[in-house]
Amino acid sequence: MEQPAYAIGLQYWLKKMGYPRLIIGGFLLVLFIMAPLTGSDLTTQFTNVVNRFSWNAVLVLAMVPMIHSGCGLNFGIPLGVLAGLLGGTLAIEMGFTGPMSFVMAIVVSTPFAILFGGGYGALLNKIKGGEMMVATYVGLSSVSFMCIMWLVIPYKHPSIVMAYTGVGLRNMFALDSFYAGVLADFLKIDLNPLGINLVIPTGSILFFALLAFLMWAFLHTKTGTAMTAVGSNPTFAKASGINVDRIRMLSVILSTWLGAVGVLVYQQGFGFVQLYTAPMNMTMPAVAAVLIGGASVNKASISNVVIGTILFQGLVTMTPTVITALIHTDVSEVIRIIVSNGMVVYALTRKTEGAK
């Protein structure tokens, strides 16, 4: 039976977009339409979504290198987060303040990210095929290990150690005099003086755009091409003379470093540093976001990252206000968990498909 041209076009478009993206996008649209009806301000909602995007986008970007090299989704992102936390706390401990503390946080976290990523990569090269499972436990165990280290490392700086004993770091501390908002406040667009509640953290978005551009450019170089080929077909890559293990290692280090930078960006937006078990909560949102964006286990693009982060963070920020206003019960956390875990399950069951 012949199908009319528009039907084929529609099917093509549906396939290209991917059902999860369409469903979540549609849901988000409904939320945006309903927001004014429930009495919440549309611009406030928009500001929330944009800000959450700017905090999380780099963490989601950290998924890309490992997906490209065929190491799967980086469930071990807490390792990168820990490198970032070490960098941040040590930079403060060294006495840096303001924007300088952010720069130093990245500088100090880099060697940790390379070290952690190197070990993590070596481990993943030994267990090809089971990366994601092992990565999950690498993340969990390293976070637990660092829970001890946060108490043992002799930090001295009064604004970050436990208030009474002075030994060990606090569970959470503010970054006001350090790097809170250093990126977000750069070229910030704030329409509050005009009576409109709209704030756009231009600096954070630019910073993400810079990293995303570098990632895009990297994937267009010789080494980046090799990385994609390794992920697409490792045997082919080996037969073309590529050192598969070395490329995979490089991708893991890149992912870990981006995780470290990602958490620092998150902190500067959020304004606080969360230690101890907090890094564990970083994994699922980042994994789910890149999957919603249309990435698969071995294919991911920058647009997947951008679209996915907007959709996922939109969902997380919009649902509390809108749904709560509707049914008078706070279900935001429930929805967040259902969406993020559901997405991961969905993606793992369809291992090869991906949307561009």
């Binding site: 010789k222 091409t225 994609t228 037969a239 003379g241 050192n243 090869t352």
Partner: protein, 521 residues
């Protein structure tokens, strides 16, 4: 079997197969790889693949009645047993348990009285008795209590056969290359047991590459070639030589005479010299190969499947663990390092297109240009004094388009994913990848496997042209002797992991056939 026909997606693999087999007779079935033996047996055994690919035409008659098997279970009930080339045994179970799996004699117990017969206990004494009886039928000694994983290969094979024998209704037993993994002595024992089975009235279809075994045990020989039965004769009226000739001798006269101008190449210098090469490639073990390749020639490597011909290029190119010495252009090439080989201007078109040869989920451009980009820094733009090597999309597009035109690759555009192409076109992409490397020496492994006749001719022509015009030395490995005879200057036949002999392509097919089976282990 009467008038059996089967095609896979329009590719006719079996045409008008007819033969009959009497009770208690042993029928030897032989033919080159791809002659259709396995397909025929799959039809007889009602395997799923046959139905899924559109069924077959023709009739199978058992005891004069027409039967149709939709599943192997139907075939089993009708009294047909099959022992496959690959073992299907549970390693952690004993021989007894494997022999009687899912057909165990059972005893009722208290729990099963209540909850039904699924909870019956197994009657181990009865099981032992039956298993021992089945093993005795073969006339060999196997410890029925031994766990499969600790058995030697031969005993595993016997266990498989015993499993079929333990089925009381067994009337016809199909053995697919049962002796391939056995030592001489074990094979001898197996042949004895086949004779014993026949004496008990069980008919046997025996598939093997070892022709003398057929002569030793069979009553009747059926030789297949290209999906036809070419000969069906009583064993007493034939010999190994006859069978060999029937197996390979397709239209010997009409085969295109291999090209002229061989004399000048005979004294060309030796460009690659392989000495005492061994390669540990599963299923294609190379034991001890020494081979000289002359500059500018096309050397064919042929032989039966599993004899090691595929192991040679895979070993030299470093894809499987190998040892020995390989000298190329006066320098020795380190083994087990694909990079070093590619750096020395060697290239390889793998027989495994989908796994090794292609990036299925990437565009044709990537597939063609990738190796050349990584090895020779082609198709790259240097930026900041060579610090950044940027992919040159335009150069990549141009080179891909060039090969799409030259090799007549059918695709929607050079951006199409390799997965979407047909087998023949995928093969052309693999060639284009190798050509883009502009190698001095090219290994081509099974270039025509699984592609249709038209594409075959194109691929072979492209290879010949590449050899003549660019002066590239080509080593082509193929299971199809005729194809080698049409394309190559000289043909080396590998048998039992060794070189059985090298002959000019003009030699008659029979001489190659004899070499193929000469050292089979």
């Amino acid at each position: 079997m009467r008038g059996i026909k089967k095609d896979f997606f329009g590719n006719q693999v079996l045409t008008d197969i007819n033969f009959t087999l009497g009770a208690g007779q042993v029928l030897g079935l032989c033919g080159e790889n791809g002659a259709g033996k396995s397909t025929l047996m799959k039809i007889l055994f009602g395997m799923d693949v046959i139905r899924e690919t559109g069924g077959y035409s023709g009739d199978i008659l058992i005891n004069g009645e027409k039967v149709t098997f939709n599943t192997p279970f139907d075939a089993l009930t009708a009294g047909i047993g099959m022992v496959h080339q690959e073992f299907s045994l549970i390693p952690g179970f004993t021989a007894t348990e494997n022999i009687l799996l899912n057909r165990e004699p059972q005893k009722k117990n208290v729990i099963s009285e209540v909850f039904g017969q699924r909870l019956n206990t197994l009657d181990y004494k009865e099981m032992d008795r039956r298993a021992t009886a089945a093993i005795e039928k073969m006339g060999v000694e196997i410890d029925a209590k031994m766990v499969i994983s600790s058995m030697p290969v031969g005993h595993k094979q016997f266990t498989e056969i015993a499993r079929e024998l333990s089925k009381e209704q067994l009337k016809l037993l199909i053995l697919d290359e049962p002796t391939a993994v056995l030592t001489e002595k074990e094979a001898e024992a197996l042949l004895d047991s086949i004779r014993g089975m026949a004496a008990r009235g069980i008919s046997v279809i025996f598939i093997t590459h070892r022709l003398h075994e057929i002569l030793a045990v069979c009553d009747q020989v059926v030789v297949m070639r290209d999906g036809h039965v070419v000969r069906d004769v009583p064993t007493s009226q034939t010999s190994v030589d006859d069978i060999t000739r029937w197996m390979v001798g397709r239209d010997v006269q009409s085969a295109v005479t291999p090209q002229e101008a061989k004399a000048e190449k005979a004294d060309a210098r030796i460009i690659m010299s392989i000495k005492n090469l061994w390669v540990d490639m599963p299923g294609e073990t190379v034991r001890d190969v020494s081979l000289d390749v002359r500059e500018g020639e096309i050397l064919g490597i042929g032989g039966l499947a599993g004899q090691g011909k595929l192991g040679i290029p895979n070993g030299v190119m470093g894809l499987y663990e190998a040892g020995g010495t390989v000298e190329f252009d006066g320098r020795s090439i380190p083994l087990n390092s694909p990079r070093k080989c590619l750096d020395s201007a060697l290239a390889f078109v793998s027989e495994d297109r989908r796994e090794v040869g292609l990036l299925l989920d990437e565009s044709l451009e990537w597939n063609v240009a990738f190796s050349a980009m990584q090895i020779q820094n082609k198709f790259l733009k240097k930026m900041f004094g060579g610090l950044i090597k940027w992919r040159d999309e335009k150069a990549i597009h141009d080179v891909t388009q060039k090969y799409i035109d030259a090799l007549e690759i059918k695709c929607t555009s050079s951006k199409q994913n390799a997965r979407e192409l047909s087998g023949g076109n995928q093969q052309k992409v693999c060639l284009a990848k190798a050509f883009a490397l502009e190698p001095k020496f090219l290994f081509v492994s099974e270039p025509t496997r699984g592609i249709d006749v038209g594409a075959k001719a194109l691929v072979l022509d492209a290879l010949k042209q590449f050899n003549r015009e660019s002066g590239v030395t080509v080593v082509m490995i193929s299971s199809e002797l005729e194809e080698l005879r049409q394309t190559c200057d000289r043909i080396a036949i590998i048998s039992g992991g060794q070189v059985a002999g090298i002959r000019p392509a003009t030699d008659p097919s029979e001489s190659f056939g004899a070499l193929m089976v000469s050292k089979v282990i």
